[in-house]
Subunit: 257 residues, 2 copies
């Protein structure tokens, strides 16, 4: 982790860093309590599609967790997102195409080559997250974890394989995602996850049915898994679910037996 800049505000230190993973330079953020000397847990926030590490709910949630839980929070730009966008015009075109494809029935409306490329980028990003955990563990303050995952929508697309592959994640908030009938790979991935899960589901989500989201929740292997359903569309998760996420991490990362 190369620290690019560092600012302190309202008890929260925000560090902009670059993480080198093979050929890639992955830009990220690390928020932590100013003056924290002892070990503390770290929450990983995976941003949504077409969002990035310093956008809207990511820094707001990060600052809330740092201030109220005393944890550290990290976020990375996903491939083709945030500071990794090299061609803004191409990014805008890709976004418009994806939105149009979703309108025609989600991934079923996408070229199989596009779907395969998305899967490759997902695994690439999972590897980047695992490299970040390695880098964090080089510092004794964060080495012991525990680590949490918070990521809805595309943040769940990335978080599911990460949590399935890496047992350093002790508790995960997922949501705004679904299990498509016949996607046995996704079902097996969810079944292999046994850590506590909080799942945020929007009843009127334009991108999936409530039942498809319930099917994903059903598939988790966790003995503790809670689904919160609220009315409204994909981007209308109520603010109070941030407090529910905070209470979930307090229970699993802070007050552990």
């Amino acid at each position: 982790m190369d620290i690019i800049s560092e600012t302190d505000d309202d008890g929260v230190r925000a560090r902009r860093f670059d993480l080198r993973v093979g050929e890639e330079v992955v830009p990220g953020m690390h928020w932590l309590p100013v003056g924290a000397t002892g070990a503390h847990p770290t929450v990983c926030i995976g941003h949504g599609g077409f969002q990035h590490k310093r956008y809207g709910n990511v820094p707001e949630l990060a600052i809330q967790f740092v201030q109220n839980l005393g944890v550290g929070v990290v976020a990375l730009d996903a491939p083709r997102h945030g500071d990794r966008i090299v061609d803004p015009e191409a990014a805008k075109k890709a976004r418009d195409e994806a939105v149009a494809a979703v309108g025609k029935g989600g991934r079923r409306g996408l070229d199989p080559k596009v779907v395969a490329a998305m899967a490759r980028r997902t695994q690439q990003h999972v590897d980047e997250w695992r490299s970040l955990l390695d880098a964090l563990q080089a510092d004794e303050r964060w080495a012991a974890g525990p680590f949490g995952w918070w990521g809805v929508s595309m943040g769940t697309t990335h978080g599911l394989p990460l949590v399935a592959q890496d047992d350093r994640i002790a508790a995960a908030v997922f949501g705004l995602n679904a299990l498509v009938p016949g996607d046995d790979e996704q079902a097996a991935r969810a079944a292999s996850i046994t850590v506590p899960v909080l799942f945020l589901n929007q009843s009127d989500d334009e991108l999936m049915t409530r039942n498809a989201a319930l099917a994903l929740w059903d598939a988790f292997g966790s003995s503790e898994k809670t689904m919160h359903i609220n009315p409204g569309g994909h981007v209308q998760v109520p603010r109070f679910e941030r407090d529910a996420s905070e209470a979930f991490f307090r229970r699993h990362l802070i007050s552990r037996p």
Copy 2:
């Protein structure tokens, strides 16, 4: 409210009272902060079937709310429950018959006369709750409210018509209950409820399907309504949902804008 006894323990005053409603004497409990002088909100807890005002989760939840929220909490014995049981043998027989009937398909397995008698007792108990609110409002500490409702299973059977009929209830926790297809009366009752609702649903509830519980949640007229689904059976609601209920009442009864 005739106060029968009063004890202080761990910052909580527990008052056993009798409420006279027509010919009936309704036994109840009132928990409040020891030494509370100012006005404070009151949460009404409706117990489940075959439980009562001083059983298990009712006093535990009451003490948690009093200690952590600084509110008062009241509970009543429903007709044929708790201290209102005059013939323990008959009560046991009724319980066994109800359990057997549920095993045969719920109310559909019950004699229509029995169903009609249950509906009369429900309305009787709603009237008793409304009388209790009247009695509480005779004391300026509780006159202004706001009042909350917490009641799952039979506590929702009683709470739905109460909240629909009485606009003094500002926020309600329901759960472990369902909308049976064709029950237009229940659907209309739910639709008339517009206060914030938290609904606790168990995914493996032996007494109803998850979809029937979702149908009840769908029917609420509230713009803020959240369903929490956990794995497990009817009596296996996780303890942490008590904290979720506390956070819900904190938001709606304490931190009101």
